[in-house]
């Protein structure tokens, strides 16, 4: 029987649809042309401009601070939430699950506006702190979902076994549960980090003067900057995100094989 070529064509179409724009940006970032468009020669000058721009580095620093803080906080809170969701089954837990799930489905713009209103109502000055809080509020959900997934196919009999072999609860948690869950928690953290560093919509609403993050800065460059530099910056961001996601996938997968 002749195999249908439809799956192959579909795959190619999907790949083109998803990745062609990224490829285009990457190519354009090496284009010597000042306004993008037709290829006029290979050049690294946009990268050079990018790496000598102090504003970019300030934005990058802000992004990383927010990213690291919100990742660490949401790793702890998200893991705790996942434990609570997995361990205790009550009526309130359905509501708890809903609350955790909500940020995954609520439109960013809605989250942005409501967070802004919240901060304004509380008269909190917009700064890196408000951005971090905003990021934590949605990062928790991702960490929780990843860790919860790990917990759901976690074989808790190893905890019984550890206690049976003389370990008290704390020791069993430290020596068995934590090492086994670490890849999941880390994967959730990496996911949170990637989401944090490239979040634009929510950050746009809750960032104040002096607390510009990279995505917000890129947006302002779009308006009155040079497109090729944005291309170069996008490629750098793309590369970082790609590596992080790949590593998080690897962690989540490699850990499971052993389980």
């Amino acid at each position: 029987m002749k195999r249908s070529s439809l799956p192959l064509l579909t795959t190619i179409a999907v790949l083109v649809f998803f990745y062609f724009p990224l490829v285009l940006v990457t190519i354009e970032s090496f284009n010597a042309s000042k306004y993008g468009g037709p290829w006029t020669g290979f050049s690294l000058r946009w990268y050079k401009t990018l790496f000598t721009d102090a504003e970019v580095f300030r934005a990058l620093k802000n992004t990383l601070i927010v990213g690291v803080v919100s990742t660490l906080v949401s790793m702890v809170l998200g893991t705790v939430a996942a434990f609570a969701l997995h361990r205790f089954k009550g009526k309130l837990q359905a509501a708890h699950y809903g609350l955790i799930y909500l940020p995954l489905v609520v439109p960013d713009i809605l989250m942005g506006i409501s967070l802004l209103l919240f901060f304004v109502a509380l008269k909190v000055e917009l700064s890196l702190v408000t951005i971090s809080i905003a990021h934590i509020s949605f990062c928790i959900s991702y960490v929780t979902m990843v860790v919860l997934g790990r917990l759901q196919d976690f074989d808790f009999s190893v905890m019984d076994a550890a206690q049976d072999l003389g370990a008290d609860r704390l020791t069993a948690f430290r020596k068995i549960l934590l090492p086994l869950l670490a890849p999941g928690i880390l994967a959730g953290g990496l996911l949170a980090f990637t989401l944090s560093i490239d979040d634009f919509v929510i950050t746009f609403f809750v960032s104040g003067p002096g607390s510009t993050t990279l995505p917000v800065y890129i947006y302002s460059m779009m308006k009155h900057g040079s497109p090729p530099v944005i291309n170069a910056l996008s490629v750098v961001l793309l590369a970082v995100t790609f590596v992080l996601v790949l590593y998080s996938q690897f962690l989540n997968h490699g850990g499971k094989e052993n389980a």
Binding site: D155, S157, V158, D160, A161, A162, Q163, D164, L165, G166, A167, D168, T171, I176, P179, L180, E257, N258, A259
Partner: protein, 378 residues
């Protein structure tokens, strides 16, 4: 000699479900004692209480004279081989086995020496540095045993240790387990739903059903002298007959009338009297099946029937023979199949006979236990 491990009037409920209902069991030092029963009979709950993972609602557990009922699991000198092994996936076999000693903070040198000894006992020295994901089921099983035994527990609890293995490996591991027991001499409490395993490995068996103990005894006792229809039907296969005592033949034997049968002589070990209803259990292998009518003998009962179903099993053939309302399951061994008399076939008219001592009178009978019997579709 006082029992080494004893469960005294243990009860445990989960919600409205009585998992264990006033169970008392005594286990002697050094023996292999099995808790045998279908899933949900309470045997695992009993084991978990012995390990300390559950607390009984009432009753107490004594180990070597000490009440351990409320001692937390990590402080009991009891170790468990879990059903799914519960090996630590992130630790090598060596570290899995060493876990208990590490927790006990024993000197490194001693730990290594003990682990080496255990690896040798379970023949895994060559695989010591592998992770559990990279060894076979039988090897995991051995690691689980070594990991528990290294702590020199007073009792080793085995929770369906062979359930996850395939048949051949199960049989081999059973022999191996028996060998390990001979070597270490530790008391084993063995949980299983597999009557073959229990019979093969145990010194004593407690047969459980619906949270209660049905019978405790040596494998031969529970097989040959089942007290209830449940024990008779759950362990091996059997046939049930319902009758009434019509005559007492001295103190030892009775004449029993079973519908559709000629008078049947039954050994009277239950002190039954004329007019009493009786329930008999007769194992399939106790019957002789022959084409010729067997010679009259006061110690042999015989009845004529028709072969309804034949299943060739290699070492023996199973025949289901109809006598009135009864479909009687019988086994017939092949000593020399090809040279035997003409094989008995479907629809043949045959004679069934059994020794008067082989029709065993049950103390308790429940019609529901008929469901456990192996019968072909009607």
């Amino acid at each position: 000699m006082p029992p080494f491990l004893s469960f005294e009037n243990i009860s445990k409920s989960f919600g409205s479900h009585k998992a264990v209902d006033n169970v008392s069991v005594d286990v002697s030092r050094g023996e292999i004692f099995s808790l045998l029963g279908p899933s949900g009979c309470g045997k695992t709950t009993l084991l978990r209480m012995c390990a300390g993972f559950e607390e009984p609602d009432s009753g107490r557990i004594l180990l070597d004279g000490v009440d351990i009922t409320n001692i937390p699991p990590h402080k009991r000198k009891v170790n468990t081989v879990f059903q799914n092994y519960a090996l630590f996936p992130h630790l090598s076999l060596r570290e899995n086995i060493a876990f208990g000693l590490r927790i006990a903070k024993r000197p490194e040198k001693e730990i290594q020496a003990e682990v080496d000894k255990m690896l040798d006992l379970v023949q895994l020295t060559d695989h010591a540095d592998k992770l559990p994901a990279f060894i076979s089921g039988g090897q995991k099983q051995r690691v689980a045993i070594a990991r528990a035994l290294i702590n020199k527990p007073q009792v080793l609890l085995l929770d369906e240790p062979l359930a996850a293995l395939d048949l051949k490996l199960r049989q081999r591991m059973l022999v191996e387990l028996d060998g390990i027991h001979d070597e270490v001499g530790i008391t084993f409490l063995y949980i299983t739903h597999d009557q073959g395993e229990a019979m093969g490995i145990s010194d004593n068996i407690a047969v459980m059903n619906q949270g209660r103990i049905e019978q405790i005894g040596k494998p031969t006792e529970v097989y040959e002298a089942p007290r209830s229809s449940f024990v008779a039907a759950f362990i091996g296969d059997t046939n049930f007959f319902e009758g009434t005592v019509t005559e007492e033949k001295g103190t030892e034997y009775l004449t029993v009338k079973i519908d559709g049968f000629p008078d049947v002589t039954v050994f009277n070990d239950k002190n039954a009297h004329k007019g009493d209803p009786v329930y008999l259990s007769i194992r399939p292998e106790k019957f002789s099946v022959s084409v010729e009518k067997p010679a009259e003998n006061e110690h042999v009962n015989a009845v004529e029937g028709i072969v309804e179903e034949v299943i060739y099993m290699g070492s023996h053939t199973r025949y289901w023979i109809r006598v009135q309302d009864y479909r009687i399951s019988t086994n017939r061994q092949h000593i020399r199949y090809a040279l035997d008399e003409k094989p008995i076939q479907w629809k043949d008219r045959v004679w069934l006979s059994w020794r008067t001592d082989d029709g065993y009178m049950l103390e308790r009978y429940a019609a529901a236990d008929e469901k456990l019997l192996i019968l072909p579709e009607e």
